[in-house]
Structure formats: structure tokens, C-alpha cells
């Protein structure tokens, strides 16, 4: 797997469990135990997912070894979002131009 930041972000987001964890953390920080509750999987399995998210910079974790609450870090997502804007702009601009073009086509059809 490529090791550039964007690829790491995408790889982390490719798993539905990890996306669900991020959705939960969007509401506020949580402990590993709290995060495990909705999922039918073991604590170690959840910990593995958290490590992937942490490596991607999508979550930060408290320092206390006993109680390490997880919190969402949206910085990498913002980077992805900015980048996605290019595609959005392409179609938004094209569709706006199509609006005007369709008006001209309609006039020609009427003539």
C-alpha cells in the first residue's frame, strides 16, 4: 500500500467498522469500551481498528494507559474534502452552462 497521507486516509476509511467508529466519535470522545459496545467483535479487534485510525491521523487518544479516550481528528478528512471540490466544481460549472445552453436549444426548437 502506498504510504502517502491521502492513501493512508483512504485505506482507513475503506472499512465500514472504522467509518462507524468515526461517526460515533463525531458526537464526542469515547472510551474503547464504549466504542466496542455496538459491534459484535472482540476488544482486540476494535483496538486494531483504532490503531489504523490513529495511524491515519483520524483519531487522537488520551495518554492515560488505563483510560485512553478516543477523539475524532477531522484534519485528514478536510484535506480529502478540499480535493473533492475539484470534481464538484467541474459538474456544477458544467451543469450551470447546460442550463443556459438548454434555453438556447429550446428557442431553436420553437422557431
Amino acid at each position: 500500500m502506498a504510504d502517502d497521507p491521502l492513501s493512508i486516509t483512504f485505506a482507513a476509511l475503506a472499512d465500514p467498522t472504522r467509518r462507524a467508529i468515526l461517526a460515533r466519535l463525531a458526537e464526542g470522545p469515547a472510551t474503547v469500551k464504549e466504542l466496542s459496545e455496538p459491534f459484535p467483535m472482540s476488544g482486540p479487534a476494535i483496538s486494531k481498528h483504532l490503531k489504523v485510525l490513529e495511524r491515519a491521523g483520524l483519531i487522537s487518544r488520551g495518554r492515560d494507559a488505563q483510560w485512553r479516550p478516543c477523539a475524532l481528528d477531522a484534519t485528514p478528512l478536510r484535506e480529502v474534502s478540499e480535493w473533492a471540490d475539484g470534481y464538484r466544481r467541474f459538474w456544477d460549472a458544467s451543469y450551470r452552462r447546460l442550463d443556459a445552453y438548454l434555453e438556447r436549444m429550446k428557442e431553436q426548437t420553437d422557431e
Binding site: 474534502s81 470534481y87 452552462r97 442550463d99 434555453e103
Partner: protein, 158 residues
């Protein structure tokens, strides 16, 4: 209003754009499928033209488009039509060339009175293809396919 695009993710490997246009179905369909119309609007932001637009609108027919910026930079894209149902639906493959994942794009045109709703769905073949697009994209800079992929992922997380 008709001037906003709605973005959705119908599945894990798809992103869909929905937009309503103030024109009859046959006219909107022609605007999307006839080169003499396409070159006037499918251009993205200001500063681009489409010097090449070849569309063989039939099942198995190929299409090819080249965009050119004022500074001479070009982008090319091509694919094949898998399904053509005049005025209501097209399914086509789309790729930026070897090394890029080929997406399957379905465009559906639905009339509602004198207005037409267009749903354009882009499907990636696999997670592997997505990953490959990512790696290539990182080397070549942000291109539309790569951006499309990002759009998909952002929508999934949102």
C-alpha cells in the same frame, strides 16, 4: 430549485449526482449524447474547451473526448456504450487510459412535465481499482477520476 446537484452514495462503490433541468427529456438527452451539443457545456470551470468529441451512440459504440486548457494542457477520456435507451438511459464505461480504473457510468433521464431529472451514477469496479487510482493519482496530481474517488469517500463518511 433546479440549480443544485444532490450527491448520494447508493452503495459502497457508487456515487450519484442528481440534477433537474428546465427542459424536455428528449432535449436534455440530446445535450448529453450529441457531440454538437456536448462541446458547448461539458467543460467544467472557465478556460477549457473540448476540441475532440466523438460519440458512437449505440450498444458497443465507443466515445472519446479531449479537453484543452488555454495554456495547452490536455486531458483525454474514453469508453464504450454498454446500453443505449434513447431519451431515457445510457450506460457507458469511462477511463482516463491504461492504469486507471474503468468506471461504469449510468445516466438516467426522467421527465416531470416540461422538466427533466438526470441521475448520473458512477460505479467503481472494486476496492483494488480504487486503491490503484489513488496511487496513480498521487503521482500524477489531482485529476478528475481521483477527485471522483475522493468525492465518493467524503460522501460515505458524511
Amino acid at each position: 430549485m433546479s440549480d443544485t446537484v444532490t450527491w448520494t452514495t447508493p452503495s459502497e462503490v457508487e456515487v450519484a449526482m442528481t440534477r433537474t433541468f428546465n427542459a424536455p427529456q428528449a432535449l436534455v438527452f440530446d445535450a448529453f449524447t450529441r457531440p454538437e451539443h456536448v462541446v458547448h457545456w461539458m467543460l467544467g470551470p472557465e478556460g477549457w474547451t473540448m476540441p475532440v468529441c466523438e460519440i458512437d451512440l449505440r450498444e458497443g459504440g465507443a466515445w472519446h473526448m479531449v479537453w484543452r486548457r488555454e495554456d495547452g494542457r490536455e486531458m483525454a477520456m474514453s469508453g464504450k456504450y454498454l446500453e443505449v435507451a434513447p431519451h431515457s438511459r445510457t450506460v457507458q464505461t469511462e477511463s482516463w487510459g491504461p492504469g486507471w480504473p474503468e468506471t461504469v457510468n449510468t445516466t438516467e433521464f426522467t421527465a416531470s412535465g416540461e422538466r427533466t431529472t438526470v441521475v448520473h451514477t458512477v460505479r467503481f469496479p472494486s476496492r483494488e481499482a480504487r486503491d490503484r487510482a489513488l496511487e496513480t493519482g498521487m503521482r500524477d496530481g489531482a485529476t478528475a477520476s481521483y477527485e471522483r474517488l475522493a468525492e465518493y469517500l467524503v460522501a460515505v463518511v458524511a
